[in-house]
Amino acid sequence: MALDYQPKIVGFLCNWCSYAGADMAGTSRLTYPPNIRIIRVPCSGRVDATLVTKCFQQGADAVLVAGCHPGECHYSEGNYHARRRFTVLRELLSFLGIEKDRLRLEWVSAAEGKKFSQLVSEFSAEIAHLGPRKDNGKAAGGSL
């Protein structure tokens, strides 16, 4: 593994909590690795299997889904849907030959800028430790 290996991470952040939490990290000038690409979604429950597998097809090393804390979803229960889907998706990934830990679900509130920056730093370090994908990005129909 090359020392400067930088994992590619996609973050689906819910508009109401986590996206604002990531904004808060910025407003507070906290730093985290520049290798995450954030996609704004209305709610963590909007993220489905197609979107997640598409990321891996596209060569992502990891996917982060973040939403409001339990009980705080702007749409009341979207994050519970996300949580249930997450368990299934991890199984699906492992079936595709991608380590489960490359998909992560977290709760980040609008006030938790610090948590968000720590989360990205930690997750990025974990994925870097895991190394490049063993399937060479071919699983999930990828062509990389």
Binding site: G26, R40, C55
Partner: protein, 666 residues
């Protein structure tokens, strides 16, 4: 094919200081469908917006990407900008290259520039798949709900009612007034709290536009801005308000006595009671947990053997207008309102968590709010400050600041804002009550930032001769009749020990019990402590993130009365800005069904929390799903639940999100 314009914002040096704008622009030139690229020093300024508008017209742009700050900041601004140039406001996408890029990667300019380019590429890919969306007009109920009848809620209710709008004020205690009703005099002017509060309380009760519901709680809230539907639980007082004349015979004669909450246990109240003489409304309530007749009824209902408890019913027998109504039961009222103000206030920190201060064991270690009751002429001792243990007049009084504030150990890192000031106030008042009193105030820092506040602290030091000692208290213990207070004078760097007659703990401010649960039912955010979170801490300080729900007072953060009143008025203006509109516009970013693809499985309907999916029979007899746009909130749960690909979400369509992913790392 759409013509896309990309505008890259410098945001002064906020973006340009980290991201190489020229490189981003050059990269944007090569992106598919991009026909025009420009930069702006400040896109959000009038000059910046004009430049964007002119470019749209001159370059015949059909879609716009603005690479700037977070869409949470200026998406609404720029939607207006593009609309002014004749473009549909939804044909815009923001690439967040400030909060999500320049501000967090200032340590790696090359990587930040590379990331900014990718964020623009994603936005370009997404905007290419945007479609024009159109808002709809929806009606609204021109009525407001205020939750919490402390000074903040009272102010908000009065301001809206005076502007001519009907207001429902819901207070869970039997009276309005909140904590301010418990205070004696108020800093920094020392005007008597009830003298300034009571007239406002009466005005609320008599206002033709205000429906006052006390002893009531909000059970559930449904709907959205302009069209909330609220369930309110009106608890039974067991007293017929239309008959009661507030003569007070009932509570004077009731034989059951329990410690009065309003006086924080410093005196008794009856089982039928009004919390204090000037309560509004001045209708007593029967405390079901303590009423003897209720206990008797419960005993009979259980069918137990043995001696029956007394029936009592003294209040019923003595009430001149026969207002006692045992049949009265809790009621659920359903109301429609257009805007909501949350002003649920605070309670004080439970100091028994501090073992070193006696954990509540010593009767003469009291709280600031208890001292307010002792100082008050209408309090349990009629304004005589005496020790709870033996009724003697304390001469040496020690104040301990920051009890449950600025203390990480207790999970309370924040400052409670009012304690420094009320300790100074109480020291002045104690001296006025009894010139022989010597006050010692242990403080960490003196926070006196308000108008006239610093002068007020001086007054406590100079006129009331309060001795300020900087340092924390390590231990308080009883020694005979005295309380020994041990601490440190951190300025002199030596231990101090004071034999006190009375110790006053300045217990910090925390959100009212039940605040989190209420926030959940309102769907508004709260912080780790349970304080309500503002839509923007500086620019939108009295709005929640949920449209149509506003915030005021100590429900947001510790605050003093002037601050609470200002917020009450501010929240009222914000709510009025909703109520005074002729109609509201709906958010067009809602779900949509492709009737050709829908198989009628209704997985979407089960996923939807807003009952926004109806069924519809097509001409060929197929039953399929259809979205009720006025109920849909645009969460997109139905899209991810859909097993076919029949469901989609406008503005966050599957094609758009996939396009963003597809644009990555290419």
């Amino acid at each position: 094919m759409a013509r896309i314009g990309v505008f890259v914002c410098h945001c002064g040096s906020n973006i340009a200081g980290t991201v190489n704008i020229a490189q981003v622009m050059a990269a944007a030139q090569t992106m598919p469908l991009v026909t025009f690229v420009a930069d702006n020093k400040y896109s959000c300024s009038e000059i910046g917006q004009t430049a964007i508008r002119e470019a749209i017209l001159k370059q015949k742009l059909e879609r716009v990407v603005i690479a700037a700050c977070s869409p949470q900041m200026h998406e609404a601004t720029f939607r207006k900008t593009v609309a002014q140039a004749g473009l549909n406001p939804y044909l815009l996408e923001i690439a967040n290259i400030r909060e999500h890029c320049s501000w967090v990667h200032s340590n790696d300019k090359a990587a930040a520039t590379k990331k900014a380019i990718e964020l623009v590429k994603m936005a370009v890919a997404k905007v290419a798949r945007h479609e024009a969306l159109f808002t709809k007009e929806i009606g609204l109920t021109k009525k407001a709900l205020v939750i919490g009848g402390g000074i903040s809620g009272i102010q908000a209710a009065l301001d809206m009612a005076n502007a001519g709008y009907p207001v429902i004020l819901v207070e869970r205690e039997p009276t309005i007034g909140g904590r301010m009703a418990q205070l004696d005099k108020t800093f920094p002017t020392l005007d008597c709290s009830s003298c300034i509060l009571t007239p406002k309380m009466v005005e609320v009760a008599q206002h033709p536009n205000i429906t006052l519901l006390t002893y009531a709680e909000v059970k559930s809230v449904r709907g959205f801005v302009g069209n909330f539907e609220v369930e309110i639980l009106q608890r039974a007082r067991k007293v017929d308000a239309s008959k009661c004349t507030s003569c007070g015979i009932c509570w004077q004669k009731c034989p059951e006595k329990i410690p009065a909450e309003f006086n924080l246990g410093l005196g008794p109240r009856a089982a039928i009671y009004t919390p204090f003489p000037q309560a509004v409304p001045n209708i007593p309530s029967i405390d079901l947990a303590h009423c003897r007749y209720i206990k008797y009824q419960e005993f009979v209902a259980r069918g137990e053997e043995g001696k029956k408890p007394p029936q009592c019913r003294i209040c019923e027998r003595l009430c001149p207008p026969q207002a006692i109504d045992w049949e009265q039961s809790d009621q659920v009222l359903v109301e429609k309102v257009g805007a909501i103000v949350v002003a649920t206030g605070y309670q004080t920190f439970d100091h028994t968590r501090y073992g070193e201060f006696g954990a509540g064991r010593y009767p003469d270690v009291i709280t600031g709010i208890q001292l307010e009751r002792l100082l008050s002429a209408s309090g349990p001792t009629e304004g005589e400050v005496v020790r709870p243990s033996d009724g003697t007049h304390p001469k040496t009084v020690v104040f301990v600041s920051c009890v449950g504030s600025r203390d990480e150990r207790m999970g309370r890192a924040y400052c409670s804002n009012v304690c420094c000031m009320y300790m100074a106030k109480q020291a002045i008042l104690l001296k006025e009550h009894d010139p022989e009193v010597q006050s010692y105030i242990f403080y960490i820092d003196i926070r006196a930032g308000g108008k006239g506040y610093e002068e007020f602290i001086r007054r406590a030091q100079e006129e009331a001769r309060a001795i300020y000692l900087r340092g924390r208290i390590s231990h308080i213990y009883q020694d005979g009749k005295k309380l020994i207070v041990r601490g440190e004078d951190s300025l002199l760097g030596r231990p101090v020990e004071i034999a006190a007659d009375l110790v006053v703990l300045a217990t910090g401010i925390e959100p009212s019990a039940g605040a989190k649960e209420l926030a959940q039912s309102l769907n508004i955010s709260y912080d780790a402590h349970g304080f309500m979170v503002e839509a923007h801490p500086k620019l939108r300080p009295v709005e929640s993130r949920t449209e149509g729900i506003f915030l005021a007072g100590t429900a947001i953060a510790p605050n003093d009365i002037p601050g609470c009143v200002a917020q009450g008025s501010a929240a009222a203006v914000k709510a009025l800005a909703v109520l005074s509109r002729p109609s509201l516009v709906s958010d067009p970013m809602v779900a949509i069904v492709d009737p050709l693809r829908c198989t009628g499985c209704f997985a979407c309907q089960r996923a939807c929390a807003f009952n926004a999916i109806d069924s519809q029979v097509t001409r060929d007899g197929k039953t399929i799903a259809v979205v009720n746009e006025s109920l849909c909130k645009g969460c997109g749960l139905c899209v991810s639940a859909c097993r076919g690909v029949a469901m989609n979400l406008k503005g966050f369509s599957q094609q758009q999100l996939l396009a963003e992913v597809n644009a990555l790392w290419r």
